[in-house]
């Protein structure tokens, strides 16, 4: 089984133009998803997490529609078949 990561258009240049990236499932967490992205697509991953592996302040991550901040943050389990949605928060001027 796999996990689908939806990439915002603003970051597609760091995913080879793909808006959707598939990674292996098999019982992982949000942190595990981004560790995998760090290995495969480091220029994408570093725009979502800082070097402490924290999710950047103005980036929101949803697992099947639920904000991980309302779940267990980066330790939230990501089941096989899930969709991880990366969305820019409302900020800036």
């Amino acid at each position: 089984m796999t996990i689908t990561v939806l990439v915002p258009g603003a970051l597609a240049e760091y995913s080879g133009g793909l808006r959707q990236v598939t990674i292996p499932g098999g019982g992982t967490t949000v942190a595990g998803v981004f560790d995998r992205l760090a290995a495969d697509l480091p220029a994408l991953e570093r725009r979502i997490r800082d070097e402490r592996t924290g999710i950047r302040r103005h980036v929101n991550i949803y697992i099947d529609g639920s904000d991980i901040r309302t779940l267990s943050g980066t330790e939230t389990s990501v089941p096989d078949g899930a969709t991880v949605h990366i969305i820019a928060a409302v900020s800036g001027g």
Binding site: A10, A43, R46, R47, D50, E51, R52, V59
Partner: protein
């Protein structure tokens, strides 16, 4: 006819301008929606390498480089500047990119927020933390100013490869005599107006420092309150504010070819951050700060309610040097003693400016 290249980092992108045949051509904004706190032009290469520190509100900081004079910009897949894991620190942004000496052509330095110094040995593509400054016992006492807590000034000694001086807000000036292995504060004579002690060993809010063209040990410094010169490479600082309309300000720049020539952009005070009389004026000295005079005409003479940030004022490397500054209200000026001209207007607020003559 000289060809001059200018980079202006703004709150929301990068502006590149070329002067050919005496007239400026300003290109469309690059790197939109990123705050470009630092730009650099590394003229040690046959084709200068350009740098831009770009921080996205959403997607974080990076450093891009261009080897085709800004036609394209690149960056490594992995973060060019990143704190090691054991520091438990994340980079906020890079405030300064400083090419090393001509004798070390692949060395480039980066000053960052939170206050740290990084060094590159691959021409500025990837950087490593300079640990001894990061581990300095004073670190716990350094505090952020309004804009953050960053190393914003990096001055490699022009003649001595073992010596380098940095400045940070707040914290003040620190220098090394052993290639970065150890660092000591160098703020004797620089006052503070926001601490109980008027002349502490460190903790000053130094806004910018600049290297004199002739004397490797002579420096100029714009402090939070005060303008200073050092003739012993930061060992002691002496006020050179007499003759200026005010001693507060952010930038100080030195002519890279003419000893004793330096420039500031005075603001009334810490508590009243406007140009005196709301007039836009650059002041310059030709005698290392013994006297000052207004430089050139053609700048707004009334109703000037904006300011010039610490890195938004620079010179090129011509002789005589051209001067350039940008304002927080998004105007960009070029000029000098012969007068000033507006190069661009209605930009996002200008954060950083660098210029160089192209051979």
């Amino acid at each position: 006819m000289t060809d001059t290249l200018l980079l202006a980092g703004t709150r929301k992108g990068l502006l590149l301008a070329r002067k050919r045949g005496g007239s400026w051509h300003v290109e469309p904004l690059a790197l939109p929606m990123t705050a470009v706190y630092a730009v650099a032009i590394d003229t040690r290469r046959r084709t200068p390498r350009l740098f831009a520190s770009a921080t996205s509100e959403h997607w974080g900081p990076t450093i891009l480089h261009s080897d085709d004079l800004g036609a394209t910009w690149s960056e490594p897949d992995h973060a060019p500047v990143a704190f090691p894991k054991d520091t438990d620190t994340a980079l906020a942004r890079t405030w300064q990119i400083q090419p090393g000496r001509p004798s070390e052509p692949e060395v480039v330095y980066a000053g960052v927020e939170p206050s740290g110094l990084f060094r590159s040995e691959d021409g500025g593509l990837t950087y490593e933390l300079v640990r001894p400054l990061w581990d300095h016992p004073h670190r716990a006492d350094w505090t952020p100013g309004a804009g953050g807590m960053a190393v914003h000034t990096i001055l490699p000694h022009p003649a001595d490869q073992a010596r380098m001086l940095v400045a940070m807000s707040t914290g003040g000036v620190y220098r090394t005599f052993d290639g970065g292995a150890s660092w000591s504060p160098a703020n004797t004579g620089i006052k503070t107006t926001f601490l109980p002690e008027l002349y502490p060993e460190y903790g000053q809010c130094v806004h910018k420092a600049a290297q004199d063209a002739g004397d490797g040990d002579r420096l100029y410094l714009q402090n939070h309150n005060g303008v200073y010169r050092s003739d012993d490479w930061g060992g002691t600082w002496t006020s050179i504010a007499d003759g200026l309309p005010a001693e507060f300000g952010f930038p100080v720049v030195a002519d890279p070819r003419r000893p004793g020539h330096a420039y500031v952009f005075p603001l009334v005070s810490d508590g009243f951050r406007f140009a005196p009389d709301y007039r836009c004026r650059v002041y310059g000295t030709a005698d290392a700060g013994k006297s000052w005079s207004e430089i050139g005409g053609g700048l707004p003479t009334s109703g000037f309610y904006t300011t010039v940030m610490r890195d938004a004022f620079t010179t090129d490397d011509a002789d005589p040097a051209g001067l350039y500054f940008g304002t927080r209200s998004g105007d960009l000026y070029a000029g000098g003693a012969e007068g000033w001209k507006q190069m661009a207007a209605n930009l996002p607020d200008v954060l950083s400016v660098r210029a160089a003559v192209l051979e």
